[in-house]
Symmetry: C2
Subunit: 223 residues, 2 copies
C-alpha cells in the first residue's frame, strides 16, 4: 500500500472530503487499512473498540440485542460510511454489533487520532455532525413507522425506498430476508407472507432469494 493511494482513499471519505493536502497526508499516515472477510464481527456489545472504522468497500450490518435476546437490525452501512463513533463520543463500551456482510475493505483510525482531528479540523466535525443528524432522523422515521404503521405498509414503503435508491423497478435486497424483517420490525414469517400477498396481487414478482421486480408501483404505494 503506497502513501499515494491511501491518501486518495482518504480523500474519498465524506467526512475527510474537505481536508487540504497536508491534512490528508497526515490522516493517511494514521489510518490502518484492512480487508475483512465476509461475516467477520468487527466488534460486539461489551467490546471496547478504540477505532473509528471507515468503509472503503463492502457492507456492514449494525444490530443490537434486545433485553429478551432478539436481534434487531439497526442499519446497513456501505461505502463511505463510518462506524464505531459511539464508543469515543460517549465513552464506555459498545452496545451493539457490527458484522461484515461480504468481504470489505475497512480503514481504522484510533480514537485518540480522531479526537485530535475533531478538535483541529472543524470541517471533519461538521461532516460527522451532518451524518449523525441524518442517521438520527432516519432512525426516528423508522421508530414511528414501526409503531404507527402496520406490517404491510412498512414492507411497501421499504420496497419503494429501494426502488428509488436504485432508480429502477428491479430491486435487490441488501441483506437476507430474515435481516430485512428484523430491520422492519417484524418476524421473517410475516415478511414472507406479506411479500407472498403482494406477489399474489401481481404487484411484485420475486426472483431468486434477493431479487424483487416491482410490477405495479402505483398499487404498491397504496398499500
Amino acid at each position: 500500500m503506497h502513501e499515494h493511494s491511501l491518501e486518495h482513499l482518504v480523500s474519498l471519505v465524506p467526512i475527510f472530503a474537505k481536508l487540504d493536502a497536508d491534512e490528508l497526508r497526515e490522516v493517511a499516515t494514521r489510518v490502518r487499512p484492512r480487508v475483512h472477510p465476509r461475516g467477520e464481527q468487527l466488534y460486539g456489545a461489551g467490546d471496547d473498540n478504540p477505532y473509528l472504522m471507515i468503509i472503503h468497500s463492502g457492507w456492514v450490518k449494525v444490530s443490537r440485542l434486545t433485553e429478551s435476546g432478539h436481534e434487531q437490525v439497526i442499519r446497513v452501512l456501505g461505502v463511505g460510511d463510518f462506524l464505531g463513533e459511539a464508543t469515543f463520543m460517549g465513552g464506555g463500551t459498545a452496545d451493539h454489533y457490527a458484522v461484515t456482510l461480504e468481504e470489505s475493505e475497512i480503514c481504522s483510525l484510533h480514537r485518540d487520532d480522531m479526537r485530535d482531528y475533531l478538535s483541529r479540523s472543524p470541517s471533519v466535525a461538521y461532516k460527522m455532525l451532518e451524518t449523525l443528524s441524518k442517521r438520527l432522523g432516519s432512525t426516528e422515521v423508522q421508530l414511528s413507522s414501526v409503531t404507527g404503521e402496520e406490517a404491510g405498509h412498512r414492507v411497501a414503503s421499504y420496497l419503494m425506498r429501494l426502488a428509488q435508491e436504485s432508480k429502477s423497478n428491479r430491486v435487490t435486497l441488501p441483506i437476507s430476508k430474515k435481516d430485512v424483517a428484523s430491520y422492519l420490525g417484524m418476524k421473517p414469517e410475516t415478511f414472507s407472507r406479506r411479500l407472498a400477498r403482494l406477489e399474489e396481487a401481481d404487484v411484485v414478482r420475486l426472483s431468486g432469494n434477493r431479487g424483487i421486480d416491482i410490477l405495479n408501483p402505483h398499487e404498491l404505494s397504496r398499500s
Copy 2:
C-alpha cells in the same frame, strides 16, 4: 436582560460550556432569549425554522406524524438541551413538531451564526456530536425495545428509568399518560391497563394523574 446574565445563561448550556470569556460574550450578543407560554408550537413539519433553540427552563415535547396520521412522541427535552439542529445540518424543512409542555425560556440562535461557531470553535461541534451520538443511541434502544419487548416490559423499563433519574421511588410522569403511551409505542388504553395491572399486584401505586409510587422495585424489574 443584561449582558452579564445572558453570558451566564450561555455558559450554562452544555454545548457552550468550554468557550472562553471572549467567545461567550460573542455568543451572548447573537442569542435571542424569549419566554414561550405553555403549549406553544415552536415549529412544525414543513416549517423552515432557521434557529437552533436552547432550553433554559421548561420542557419541550418533540413528536412526529406517521404517514397514517398518528402522533409519535420522539423525546422530551429539558434544561440545557437544544433542538432544531436537523434543519441546518441537513438543510430543508423540519419533519417533526416541537411544542412547549409548560412555560419555557428558550434562546434562539440563527443558523448562520451557529454555522459560524461550529466552524470556528471545535469544542462546540464536539459537544454537539456527543449529544447527537447519545440521542442516536437512545433512539436505537427505543426502536429495539418497541419491536422486541412486549408492552408490559416497556412500561416497567420506563418506570425504572424515571426512578433512576429522580433517584427516588416516587416518580412523576414528565408528560401526559397519552404522550407517554405514544413514546412507549402503545395506545393510551394499553398503557392504562398495564399500570392498573401493576397497581393490582401492589408493585406501584398511582397518585393523581402524574404521580407513581414504586412499592416493589424488585418485582417491577422482573416484569
